[in-house]
């Protein structure tokens, strides 16, 4: 059996080799799974829904039902309104959902489907009947990555549900971005500990990490309650995690870029407190400071202790990570968060790769990584083979990212620490903690131990003490 092909030289490619990104409807599907009683419908070929289900099921190890309007050749020629109507009818009959979110695809966008008006028509036809909320988001896969699909969906959800006159001064909006169900659970706990109710959008902490079921739930429980989303325009503030959250606003108001939080700020005067994904002490401090700023509540002792324990762990482990060269890849916000954390513990990130192409990652990384940012090779609009090519040249010590980069670690015979999405070769991807002092603690232990294990396994004596 041969090894995977590896080129001797690094050369530019027009094609993408082993994509380090996914398509926009996947991001939309993840976000829609975080809305109470919501069933996603993908307006396109059957394969889009099925491939995305498969991809998500393999990570979350949960049922992930996503319907398709199932385009045929005739649909493609004559338009998809009839198929969408049929799909909605069958989804509503089967699932009794509270909401249906329709995500478009490259196919439906290219043939010029106007789903917004199709849904308006359906609403008119079914007026007076007990129909769920219907909304749509434009997610052609030739635009951006799964993250654009994710953020566009969160924006559309907020725009669709937020009501003008709802006041909710006891509530705080949280836009966590694409994090794990475990991260969302932790965020909710943190916010509650600051004495305020979170409106967390999207909240797939239950739907994509269900406990054991007593019966088969067609629509899993949990998700951001619809009547809570309605109040987001009246919340005391928004906390948004991540700097790469803005998308073209529905494509219709040309040039205008918004995230859900920035839209709420401009349309409803809800102040947006932005920070990096809180990975590491610096970014977590910013996040917790923002909470204090918004609520007036000092950091609860629980988190002071978590912070203290994390710093104590930094002391215990600093020598084993210092000067180690790391390769980090994934979504821009995850990469930025991870690199900031690694920089503050003395790890030198030599390659930061992403399939996204905002063009801003390098600049943000330099700002967030004062120690090693200058020497970092930032690969935007990139793919795994390019990351692999560069990694073979640089000879890093560790790889940190989702499971799709495992093959690079295997070829280089170095450890990989699995974070983010997807984790297709292990159980527990949905339960990885990345955020806050507690999440960073887990991450730090994993990174240190992966390096220690490597050293131990490659030691001629197999030592028993550090």
């Amino acid at each position: 059996m041969d090894k995977l092909p590896r080129l001797k030289d690094i050369r530019p490619f027009v094609s993408t080799r082993n994509a380090c990104k996914l398509c926009a409807p996947l991001g939309a599907s993840v976000a829609l799974k975080g809305i109470e009683g919501c069933v996603p419908v993908i307006h396109g070929s059957q394969g889009c829904a099925t491939y995305i289900r498969r991809y998500m099921i393999s990570h979350y190890k949960e049922p992930v039902d996503i319907a398709s309007s199932n385009f045929s050749e005739e649909t493609t020629i004559f338009g998809g309104a009839q198929n969408l109507r049929e799909a909605l009818g069958n989804v509503i009959g089967q699932y009794k959902p509270k909401a249906v979110g329709v995500a478009t695809t490259c196919l439906s966008e290219t043939i010029g489907e106007d789903v917004f008006h199709q849904l308006a028509e359906v609403r008119k036809q079914t007026a007076g009947e007990d129909w769920p909320e219907l909304f749509t988001v434009s997610t052609p896969s030739y635009q951006g990555t799964h993250m654009d699909g994710f953020h566009a969906t969160v924006l559309e959800i907020v725009k669709h549900f937020v009501k003008d006159d709802e006041k909710a001064a006891d509530r705080l909006n949280i836009f966590p971005g694409f994090v794990s169900p475990a991260d969302i659970r932790q965020l909710k706990e943190i916010i509650s500990d600051y004495g305020i109710k979170p409106i967390l959008i999207p909240d797939f902490s239950d739907a994509l990490d269900n406990p054991l079921w007593d019966k088969y739930y067609r629509v899993p429980e949990g998700g951001t309650p619809l009547d809570e989303i309605c109040k987001a325009g009246g919340a005391v503030a928004s906390i948004e995690l991540g700097l790469f959250t803005k998308v073209a606003n529905g494509g219709k108001e040309s040039g205008l870029m918004h995230s859900a939080a920035s839209w709420l700020e401009s349309e409803h005067n809800v102040k947006n407190y932005k920070s990096l994904m809180p990975i590491g002490v610096n970014s977590s401090d910013d996040f917790f400071d923002n909470l204090t700023r918004v609520t007036g509540v000092e950091m609860p002792e629980k988190y002071m202790k978590q912070r203290g324990r994390l710093l104590d762990a930094y002391a215990d482990g600093h020598k084993y990570v210092f000067g180690k060269k790391a390769v980090v890849y994934g979504e821009e916000d995850l990469v930025l968060g991870l690199c900031s954390f690694l920089d503050e513990i003395g790890v030198e990130v030599v390659i930061a790769g992403t399939g996204a192409y905002s063009g801003r990652l390098e600049e943000e990384l330099k700002k967030a990584c004062p120690n090693h940012g200058e020497n970092m090779k930032v690969l935007g609009d990139s793919d795994f083979e390019r990351i692999s090519d560069e990694s073979h040249k640089i000879k890093p010590d560790i790889i940190i990212g989702n499971s799709k980069g495992y093959y690079i670690a295997r070829e280089l015979k170095i450890p990989i620490v699995r974070v983010g999405f997807p984790i297709h070769d292990r159980v527990g991807g949905q339960r990885i903690n990345h955020l806050g002092y507690a999440g960073t603690q887990e991450l730090f232990d994993k990174v240190v131990n992966a390096l220690l294990e490597y050293k131990q396994e490659n030691s001629p004596v197999g030592f028993k003490y550090m």
Binding site: L22, G44, Q46, P63, T76, N90, Q94, I111, Y216, K404
Partner: protein, 442 residues
Amino acid sequence: MERLIKERTRQILTLGESAHELDCEKKSTAGSVSQRACVFCGSRVVLYPIADALHLIHGPIGCAAYTWDIRGAMSSGPQLHRLSFSTDLREKDVVFGGEPKLKTALKELIDAYKPKAAFVYSTCIVGVIGDDVEAVCREVSKDTGIQVLPVMSEGFKGTKKDGYQAACAALSKLVGTDDKYEAPEYSINILGDFNLAGELWILQDYYKRMGVNIITCLTGDGRVDEIRKAHKAALNVVQCSGSMMYLAKEMKEKYGIPFKKVSYFGIEDMSEALYDVASHFKSDEMMQKARELVSAEIKELIPALQPYREKLEGKKAAVYVGGAFKAVSLVKALRLIGMQTAVVGSQTGNIDDYNLLKKLCDPGTVIVDDSNPNELSDFVKEKGVDLFIGGVKERPIAYKLGLGFCDHNHERKEALAGYEGMLNFAKEVYASCTSPVWKFFK
């Protein structure tokens, strides 16, 4: 039983209770949450195992990303098929056309990876924006001197089965392009095995022991140059008939090569597959060898299965897989370990397959075509099954309901074909059905 989607009523029946014929080979109902994928998926799974070919997916990134190295189709040599190549079309390509990007991508990849041939998969929007993929393939073929084969697999142009057909159409352009090869006596091709978890290697060993020469397998552990010689075989042995029957029929027409439909799952079907080949060649010696092989294997296997059978006797199973012919084998294989099939269905079965299932299964068995999570979860609950056999998308249904699960899909890591595969199957079923964790679920 309440059927939630009216249009699907005739695609479900209960043996001994329903009077209607089973409807099948239909497009999936919109909004049904079918477990099927699309035309592209059908083509991709069939051609994927050809290990020394370049597989370039022409379209936006999703189709390539979701099919990167997802099958357990093993290669004994080159691993080029495990890389995922895409033209990664962007908005401007969609507006101005993707042909220039396709041409550049093909040339750079052929130059870098030196494949023996290239397959270019058309995805949904390629069909809509009007790229002339065939013309680009012809041109690049001429420039590079390697065969570049378009696969017309636009997702919306039918079902997964149409994707099989598109894949077979591309393959048939390769078959017959090496005429110099002289095949030894008793040469066959294996069609429709994808060497998942190395299953082809098990089968190869059996056929070799019988004195049969295998020219190529389409497409498990596939090589372009071997496929070129496939037309020199005296017989095509076809498994996974849904996917490869198009090619088998075409080769019969074009080259006069007869074919036999076989399955390699379970003792009966595996043995039948060997006997069929021997009787086709009308060689007493070969038949004798086949008999010896089967009896030697069974002599070892039956006692090895016994402890599992004792623990599994009387348990009930649900089977939902891609092709219905595989489902037939699974029903038989389950019987061999004392288990009864209470629910059985497939994504792409045809009426012959389903009639076979009707004959084979016990009264009360639910037979279903192109099902979905809601129906499947209802069926397994109603029938009180202990085990679900399916793929990735069925697994969480089983686990959420506290049932054992056996992975019989493309990504499996355990070989389930042949006699040793039967033992692996029994072990996996046993491990999942009798795990102590289920006691917390009652």
